[in-house]
Symmetry: C2
Subunit: 327 residues, 2 copies
């Protein structure tokens, strides 16, 4: 375990408003879905913000496009590079394609095929690395310096955080104030952006972050108020297999988040099965982190109005049968 | 193969309008979804009417609720009986629950578990039969007479057809006139109702019915203009494993449908995979019948505005991996 100091955040709600303007007509305004059965099971009124219907299948498009569209002409010409377990990769690739910016992506060899193929399909150059032996940050940095490219980090950047915050902005605009908001947490880009939007629209709303139990670095960082780094966790929530939060994301979380929770893989699978069977939603395991604590009765929000962000839907469909056969 | 005479239809657009009033606030007004990628692949502008998001997971709720809500007090007290491969069963069960009418359902032993469980979950009595040895119509008729129940047939009834027509009514209200409408076809309840709505809103719209290739009784009936009956077909499209159209449905189809098409199981799986992977929609094999001919380039609708009804989403999720592993 290593720790480091925390920086203060430079992200304000006005940044999220500007991001929303950049994304207007480019990103989808995703639907909010509800279910009588889900409300009965959980004992509260749940609003699911369906980012699985976002372009390239996850909220990550919001942050990437917001970041890439702010580059200057020289930067756009040299291109961008990033490292990602998958969805941020596709997000940068698609944003690059739309903005005519060359994109290079450093991806783990064991990333889901649907994410690898998606990234290549958007025309990006893909460089594979071994998750257990190499550090993606170092590989990316080396190539970045060599080629003069701009590094687009997956979460710890004000433009990324502001872009991700537009999803919760839309949710509050659509359903009004909420008592609680639950958000999947990997590096903290989505939850920090969401928290800033929540604070603007619904200051009383309690924000909960949810991580895979096997990778609770965020919970540790939140508790110790210092950035805690862990080895890559083993979990089906591949979008939250991060080693640590970021300096900027943790700063926002310490200010606005009420509690960090965790969910086991079994809980994620049960939650996921419900979303497929009863709500007909194709979601990826990571996307179910927000709903899992409520669905599995680990968090009591009886009678409350609860927003939950379903972060994405890029799942290996051929492996679904195996996943669901365990329940 | 057996044939019989065709009766004329007693279903008018005013019946669909009245059905829509009965369903208002009870059935979901399901979303219409679109995809740039799908339009590029198919070369036309496609509007998917997502009845997988209907209550109990399929359009069948519309017809069943419309029929049950028109029973008189004495009939409601005695209860209803029906036979169904699955979705109509759940539709009658849920409608019975909502209207406080006892419901008995005759279902095949090999119906998908999700449909069996759903039907029981809505509080209906379920009687199982062997598809290959027994005739569901006969079993249902026997119990109906014994208990004085009203038989609610799965498709060949004016109230059922009028209820099913409300899905296409909503589609035209939402997207305006269309050049073509493709509809899955089992017994013809959905396509006959859809055709009457299309004829009202968009008289130039060409209607196509799509059946599983293994069970093309509808195509045969349409060609010979007589009701053709076939043995139960083997196909993954379990919602279209009907033996024949109905007298009433065929009459409407002969008047309004341009052509009857078929799709192979392989074509259905490829279409289904796209809907899951790229559009994040949980659909059942039968639901993909309408899209299959366009997606697999068996029908050229280049440059046209095309409506397609995705009929339902009640699929055996644990079997999905096997299904998708074949492509």
């Amino acid at each position: 375990m290593t720790t480091s100091n925390i920086e203060t955040t430079p992200v304000f709600f006005s940044d999220i408003e500007q991001a929303a303007q950049r994304l207007d007509g480019v990103a989808h305004r995703t639907p909010v879905m509800t279910s009588r059965t889900l409300n009965e099971i959980c004992g509260c009124e749940i609003f699911l913000k369906c980012e699985n219907y976002q372009r390239m299948g996850a909220f990550k498009f919001r942050g990437a496009y917001n970041a890439l569209s702010q580059l200057d002409d020289e930067q756009k010409k040299c291109g961008v590079i990033t490292f990602s377990s998958g969805n941020h990769a596709q997000a940068v690739a698609l944003s690059g394609k739309l903005l005519n910016i060359p994109a290079t992506i450093v991806m783990p060899k064991d990333a889901p095929k649907v994410k690898l193929n998606g990234t290549k399909g958007y025309g990006a150059e893909v460089l594979l690395y071994d998750r257990s032996e190499e550090k993606r940050e170092e590989i990316a940095k080396e190539i970045q310096e060599e080629r003069g490219m701009v590094l687009i980090p997956p979460f710890d950047h004000p433009h990324i955080m502001a872009g991700q915050g537009t999803a919760a902005k839309e949710l509050f605009e659509d359903v009004g104030p909420l008592d609680a908001l639950l958000v999947p947490c990997g590096g903290g880009g989505l939850i920090s952006g969401s928290a800033i939007s929540a604070n603007h629209f619904s200051p009383e709303c309690e924000i909960f972050g949810v991580e895979p139990e096997a990778g609770n670095d965020g919970q540790q960082s939140f508790k110790s108020r210092q950035l805690v780094s862990i080895p890559t966790p083993k979990t089906i929530a591949d979008g939250a297999q991060t080693n640590s939060l970021g300096h900027l994301t943790l700063a926002v979380m310490l200010k606005h988040v009420k509690q960090m929770l965790t969910a086991t893989d079994d809980e994620l699978i049960r939650t996921m099965f419900f979303l497929y069977e009863r709500m007909k939603l194709v979601v990826e395991p990571t996307a179910t982190l927000g709903l899992a604590p409520v669905f599995n009765k680990n968090l009591d929000l009886s009678g409350k109005r609860v927003g939950i962000i379903l972060s994405g839907g890029n799942v290996d469909l051929k492996a679904l049968g195996n996943l669901f056969s365990t329940i």
